[in-house]
Symmetry: C2
């Protein structure tokens, strides 16, 4: 153990295990999670070379092997609880994804929710035994977020009782689905349904794409890998071009909409029913943000505790870089953010399950709020995390740029969350739509419920033109007061956006133009709303914590999160009259105090996330802090070191020298 | 040609060629640059497969081949002007680097500046004929920016008149030098010089590391590749461990310091002499920022002109995504930044050459300012560009994540500039040191010259406590007035930082602690200073532009750059009393107007950067806008598509299915 990092642990003011239990949701959950993680760590089948040393094809190969192993082992161990499966896979996959990801996350759930009883009987056993390997083919080369514009067609032919699937244009080629390129033999294809000469919009069709015997592409199916990406090397994101591919009528998922044998189209009873999966996945992504950021903080903070650099005092040894105020200023607000997002993730997951229960009993009343919240928070947390991972990486200096730090892998694996499952700006605008609607209802005297109820509160506290004449409302040392300030800031920005939208409506050709011309303000309002929710949930979490020492350190983190957010957005708070100019100086000073206060607990706070070395896969983030010797060991395994002299020397350098 | 993008070009209000000439520095420079670029583009030897389809070893191989080819061809064509070499290589290398990079940028210049006449005679011809392939080995596993702490030792042995080089610890292993792993046969090693029992600090030693005949590592030399990184796959960044490696006394670079045969150490006359290279490289990086950002903007804006998505008006076709206000708000400020940085790069390069002339004549007076400016602007421009490239990538939705967009490559190739040649935070603090010193001189009544002369101006305009009682000083439609506002903001933040530092000195144990405890404020002051310089240089450039239409569009860009910066930092401007709260609303509105104003010229503005398709290597950024068909063509070449059925199917999937 590196003595620097041991000392850090000795100096912590709280019991790390208690905090880990809080993060897990209880002592027993921590115990069971660790038990499951150990199954992988002690399993010789999961020992493998660093994927960074392999070619893309080898990485894909290794990932398929691992997916197959995980299926067999989870059955062998009898692990079936989703959370436990998650724990198991988290270790086995490390920071990477698996080619079967879409099979689990989209293919199976869609079958489960949209099959008729007949269809279930036929398809579910095949999917569960992986004889059907499935993906979900929605996005097309020319069409993403706006799914109504998808071009793939499924035309019903009553003479054979088949659908004929086609990709009529280049831009209609299915593009991006994970596992589509090489792994899957079936795809749920989203296509415009044509029957009896009429288009009925998008429907889902189970489409065989490869032979279940030979795995060769079926006639009319042009399928392949879309090529290398920023990350996701292990996953065969694919393309799919359909040329008069015929599938039986029964392959349309018909739990809701139907096509009768004669081609008669039967409408679905409600369109809210397919709403849930999307909301669920977005809520899950909030948790993924917390995990990616907490992993990155773990690596950067542990490394900062063992890395020494420059001098603070002449003649003395180089200090740990964690002692530099600028380093603390980079990392501790992110650490606070990781905790904040963890608690928001817990809240979203709990809320989703509660509302799911209601929905199953026919009560949709809370769905719009959850929909708006999951959209906005997905964008808010992924954007913050995306930028935060890179701050962590760069805070490790040059070594963060090495793949051995794992930070490049964390980044490239995480960054697509800003785009997939709803592009972030589009998500923010969806939330804004809900906020503006709620604002109007509040103005109309309606009593709002849930998180947006603050829009009911009197706006007269916010008078931008009289800033300096009113007492400031914020006490910067009081978290509750800061939560209020965030609330009024959100309220103010929602009001501004709504008013700008109203003003635009008077000049614009259409509602849509007015919306577009206000969209910068609308995104800003959503952002402020989400920020408020995060601060509020962090504060709420504190009240659940009994242990005094843990409560104290988390309170410091919460205050840092809230104050740092104010410091990054002082214009908003000044404009809303929530801050006075002299307070800005106090905030700067207070932030510095909080950094110093957190300094002795920084390593313990990342230890509490409890990522095993096998999960971080980072030389810089090692628990024992023995960074340099392991970097050297790792480097020696680089493929370029397999020979002392690279063949390019004989091919190009020697001939070059002989010519000069 | 895609009709969308043709229409964009037809609608531009200015002549693109005129703007290109301005960017190049004249009509003749444009002509010659294009001529040189065409040499590569028409050269069949430079046609190659996309590097993204190759393994790391293949990429390195291809890069060595290309480096060797470039050397021969440049000689063949007789191209020797550094700018022309740069143009040639820009096309040949695309967004990548070459393994010989450090040979050109550090090894050769160091030989040139630090060899004695004798040494020049011996080494320069060998280096110029590439019989010596060199790198510059400074950074160690445990030591980066703070080079005084380097641990490698060179101990003089008068009995054999040799230096004995050693890496005494793991943390002393040389780490990161480009071309060190496999390519180089010599390294200039920075080591602590010991002679006659005394350490004389760092000196440079020409150290043979591989046989010039067989390329095998020499005895006592442990050398290799440091393993895969975020990017720079083509470059063999290496490690070097020296175990009693003996080199002749003459291998110490002795133009300034010397070791006599008997071991007597002779001090160098001045330590300013080695200052220049660093300043030069940092100035160059400012230009690299402009190039990376302008390439990214070219890709994102062209793609946004041909990509259609969602609907603005019901029933109408999907609009170009460039019509979305949120998309414009992401991209146009970055476009303005790319132009701003281009002009700053031109200024830095000009200033460097002017001051170099002075230095050669013994006049060092302007060096400190240039040093401070190049450090701060290097950090300011690389940070902004680093974040900006990712905004461009994500603004292209999912397709930005594909390697075919080239944006991932641009990012991973660029991002090390935030770390190398002086870590950005350290750079900002160096600039701050100069600013604080200048501030104190100004307070002491000294008349400052150069860019910091604003610190001489009366501070009484800035009275934070009386914001609302004073008229606002900024006219938000007037660039000159905004430049003033940036100046006063910088002035204010320098003052605040200096005062905080002063206050800290009263509590702190040492100057160094006080400095550390003020470093957040100091970085902020440097940032504001650099921001001011950029806005000021952009404004200054406008006065040189004769063409009315070009002047008009660049003025709009400059105003957007300045106002966007104000909007991102409203707290500072409010705090300094430079803005009033009601102006914030006006700024938001004005920004929207500027976005609309730029919209018709966006494509023309990126066309003016004049990057040939071969240089961008981006399917999304194609000049002809024919994106989708070329994405499909590109994907088909993915190595995973070499077989229809990947071997992993037979190895893992079939066996899995048979077990379930």
């Amino acid at each position: 153990m590196n003595p620097d990092i041991s000392r850090e642990r000795e100096n912590a003011s709280f019991n790390v295990e208690i905090l880990t239990n809080i993060l897990d949701g209880g002592v027993e959950k921590t115990r069971r999670r660790r038990e499951i993680e150990s199954l992988v760590i002690s399993d010789p089948d999961f020992q493998h070379e660093d994927l960074n040393f392999l070619s893309r094809s080898e990485r894909y190969d290794a990932a398929v092997r691992k997916s197959a192993q995980m299926i067999l082992k989870l059955r062998e161990y009898g692990i079936s609880d989703p959370e436990e499966i998650y724990s198991y896979k988290s270790v086995a996959k490390g920071v990477y994804h698996e080619p079967f990801g879409v099979h689990y996350v989209m293919f199976m759930p869609t079958l489960n929710s949209q099959c008729t009883t007949e269809q279930r009987k036929k398809w579910i056993p095949l999917a569960e035994s992986f004889h059907m390997l499935g993906t979900y083919a929605q996005t097309e080369l020319g069409h993403g977020t706006h799914i109504r514009a998808l071009e793939t067609t499924a035309t019903y032919d009553p003479s054979t009782q088949e659908f004929v699937l086609n990709s009529p244009t280049i831009s209609s080629i299915k593009w991006w689905p994970g596992g589509l390129g090489k792994t899957s033999n079936h795809a749920i294809v989203l296509a415009q349904l044509y029957t009896q000469g009429k288009c009925h919009g998008l429907h889902a069709f189970i489409t065989p794409i490869r032979s279940m015997k030979t795995h060769m592409p079926l006639p009319g199916v042009v399928v392949g890998d879309i090529g290398p990406k920023f990350g996701f090397d292990e996953v065969d994101n694919g393309y799919l071009k359909l040329e008069n591919v015929r599938i039986p009528r029964e392959n349309m998922l018909m739990k809701y909409a139907k096509v009768e044998p004669d081609g008669t189209y039967v409408k679905p009873p409600s369109d809210k029913l397919t709403y849930g999966t999307m909301v669920f996945i977005r809520s899950m992504i909030v948790g993924e943000s917390a995990r990616a950021l907490s992993k990155s903080c773990t690596i950067a903070i542990r490394y900062s505790a063992v890395r020494h650099q420059s001098e603070l005092r002449p003649g003395e040894p180089e200090p740990q870089i964690l002692d530099y105020q600028t380093q603390q200023y980079k990392l501790f607000p992110l650490l606070a953010t990781a905790y904040a997002f963890h608690f928001v993730g817990q809240y979203m997951s709990k809320t989703y399950h509660r509302i799911s229960g209601d929905i199953n009993q026919g009560d949709f009343s809370e769905l719009p709020e959850l929909h708006a919240l999951s959209a906005g928070l997905k964008a808010f947390t992924t954007w913050a995390t995306n930028a935060g991972i890179e701050v962590c990486r760069m805070s490790c200096g040059g070594h963060g740029y090495s793949r051995c730090s794992s930070l490049p892998d964390i980044y490239v694996t995480f960054t697509p969350t800003c785009t997939y499952e709803g592009e972030n700006t589009v998500m923010m605008l969806q939330t804004a739509r809900y906020l503006v609607k709620s604002y109007k209802q509040a103005r109309a005297g309606q009593q709002l419920t849930g998180i947006v109820s603050y829009l009911n509160e009197p706006q007269n506290r916010i008078q931008p033109h009289s800033v300096s004449y009113r007492p400031t409302v914020v006490s910067i040392n009081d978290l509750a007061s800061l939560v209020e300030a965030y609330k009024f800031r959100a309220s103010k920005l929602v009001e501004m956006a709504a008013k700008n939208l109203q003003a635009e409506l008077q000049h614009s050709k259409s509602n849509e133009d007015a919306w577009n011309n206000s969209s910068i303000d609308l995104v800003r309002a959503s952002d402020a709303h989400c920020h408020y929710v995060v601060v509020k949930l962090f504060e709420a979490k504190l009240s659940e914590i009994g242990d005094t020492a843990v409560h104290s350190v988390l309170s410091t983190l919460a205050l840092l999160y809230a104050l740092h957010g104010v410091a990054q957005n002082t214009g908003d708070f000044l404009q809303a009259g929530l801050l006075s100019v002299p307070q800005l100086t106090q905030i700067s000073q207070r932030l510095k105090d909080l950094l110093s206060q957190l300094r002795p607990n920084a390593v313990a706070l990342v230890d509490a996330f409890d990522y095993r070395d096998e999960m971080l896969n980072s030389v810089l983030g090692r628990y024992d802090g023995n960074v340099y010797e392991h970097m050297f060991e790792w480097a020696k395994k680089s493929p370029l070191n397999h020979t002392e002299v690279h063949e390019s020397y004989h091919k190009y350098l020697k001939p070059l020298q002989s010519k000069l």
